[in-house]
């Protein structure tokens, strides 16, 4: 690990605008620092600045950025009104990691692309301009939607997939003030600058995640992976589906590990609303979702897997 200066922030104001790399749970950052993929000159420890409460805001909820993943998943209101979020968090990592990992830090986790992590291969995300070894390389875990010539990495997390489905927002504080970013706009597609995973500006700090009023319905998170627990997703589907009689009344969907960000497609949600759930409808939804999907060779199976996972989730959620 490269040497760095360490300091501890006493309050949020010290962190906002700081040129140092912020550290909270540290479970992803320290891993990358050991691999020397991340080499910050300075770390600012923000674990003592507060931001660790979950509070009601009308019918919605404000979750402080430093609430642990475990505390969020176990919170009575989240379990009752947004069980999709509990399910997604609990599907990720291990209990030990969820105890350390924070809400804000989880959003900032980096890709698990092996060429990014190895610290040596050409990688436009780690070292812009060097190329992308994953294209033509081992790309079983890579993107099938929204990739670019520069990068085919995926965002690996689960929690942000649920938050994207639920139309959460991310509250930040930066040198220019406070802003609120739709979860669906927080992560970026790689384009020609894959070094940036999200839209945070230098010195900007995530302060909270907001959940809008719950819409009810059935909340499911289906994660398909190589082993039953403690593994990253090959494909995941987050769904909140509300029925009105025999028709779908509301549909919130997001997909994990298939793109550089949690993938959402409002056209698919709209296609489902007002319809009777049938296998044919689920197939049409998958056709629309995947119309621009492109495999890289080893990950071609993901296109079929997303289609099947979506059909299974919709069938379970609608009772079809």
């Amino acid at each position: 690990m490269k040497a760095f200066e360490y300091d501890r922030a006493g309050d949020l104001a010290q962190a906002v605008g700081s040129p140092a790399m912020l550290i909270a749970g540290g479970t992803n950052l320290l891993d990358l620092m050991k691999l020397e993929v991340a080499t910050p000159d300075a770390l600012l420890d923000i674990t003592r600045v507060g931001l660790n409460e979950i509070t009601s805001e009308g019918a919605g909820l404000r979750i402080g950025a430093l609430v642990s993943n475990s505390d969020c998943a176990a919170h009575p209101r989240i379990r009752a009104d947004w069980p999709l979020l509990s399910r997604a968090i609990l599907a990720g990592a291990s209990p030990q990691l969820r105890n350390k990992a924070t809400m804000g830090g989880n959003l900032c986790q980096r890709t698990r692309c092996g060429y990014f992590m190895d610290g040596r291969s050409p990688c436009n995300k780690r070292e812009p301009g060097t190329g992308c070894a994953a294209q033509g390389g081992v790309n079983r875990n890579h993107a099938i939607l929204g990739a670019s010539d520069a990068c085919i990495a995926t965002y690996p997390g689960d929690m942000a997939v649920a938050l994207s489905a639920l139309r959460a927002t991310v509250e930040t504080e930066g040198p220019d003030g406070i802003r609120e970013i739709a979860m669906r706009d927080f992560h970026r597609l790689p384009g020609d600058d894959p070094s940036r995973d999200n839209v945070l500006k230098p010195g900007e700090v995530i302060t909270a995640i907001r959940l809008p009023a719950p819409i009810g319905g059935r909340h499911l998170y289906r994660k398909v992976r190589d082993r039953a627990s403690y593994a990253f997703a090959l494909v995941s589907v987050a769904a909140s589906i509300r029925m009105d009689g025999d028709r779908i009344d509301a549909a919130q969907l997001a997909f994990g590990s298939i793109a550089h960000k949690p993938w959402t497609d409002e056209r698919v949600e709209k296609l489902l609303v007002g319809e009777r759930p049938t296998p044919a409808l689920f197939g049409k939804a998958a056709d629309l979702l995947l119309e621009d999907a492109r495999g890289q060779g080893h990950n071609d199976f993901k296109i079929t897997l997303v289609r099947r996972a979506l059909a299974a989730v919709l069938a379970e959620a609608t009772g079809e």
Binding site: L30, R87, L97
Partner: protein, 175 residues
């Protein structure tokens, strides 16, 4: 050079000041500075759970956290859970059920399971809880899922599971 913040760690009830290199993990400080070698280094990347310790009542991977970040934290290692003359209920159950072969993962397994039993008692859901809003059952599938962060290369999982179930039953009976 700016003065580094120190950290006062409380380890198994004993206070220690840490002023060293901020790069050092809690795991390395426990083992190398404090001589508490019960906590093991397996992968050093948070993937195996051999380094599990309990910090402020919560189990964590001590390899993926900096010692300097634990100012005023209460840390419990395997040495604080029991001694050869006074085993904890869980430690005795691991012996009774042969919950290990080589033993390398065992301190992490026991620290992890000690905290896990408390998580179930507090009603935390897991990925296999049918409805996250419900209180979880004390079932085999729940324990397997909740212990998935601790790998055992010898594959002693069935006996580890039996030891944990036995200790949970004893703890409940004593309550």
């Amino acid at each position: 050079m700016a003065q580094r913040p120190a950290a006062r760690l409380s380890v198994n009830g004993q206070s220690h000041e840490y002023h060293g290199d901020p790069r050092r993990s809690l795991l390395d400080v426990l083992r190398l500075d404090l001589g508490l070698t019960g906590t093991k280094k397996g992968c050093d990347h948070g993937q195996c759970g051999a380094c599990t310790v309990i910090v402020n009542g919560r189990r964590i991977n001590s390899c993926l956290t900096l010692a300097v970040m634990h100012d005023e934290d209460e840390i419990t290692t395997i040495e604080g859970i029991g001694t050869p003359d006074a085993l904890s209920t869980l430690q005795a159950a691991f012996v009774a059920h042969d919950g290990f072969q080589c033993g390398y993962c065992t301190p992490g397994q026991i620290c992890s399971a000690t905290a896990m039993i408390e998580e179930i008692r507090q009603g935390w859901p897991s990925a296999v809880t049918a409805d996250p809003a419900d209180k979880p059952a004390v079932a085999e599938a729940e324990i397997r899922e909740r212990m998935s962060g601790n790998l055992c290369r010898c594959g002693a999982y069935d006996n580890i599971l039996a030891a944990i179930r036995d200790a949970m039953a004893q703890t409940e009976a004593a309550r």
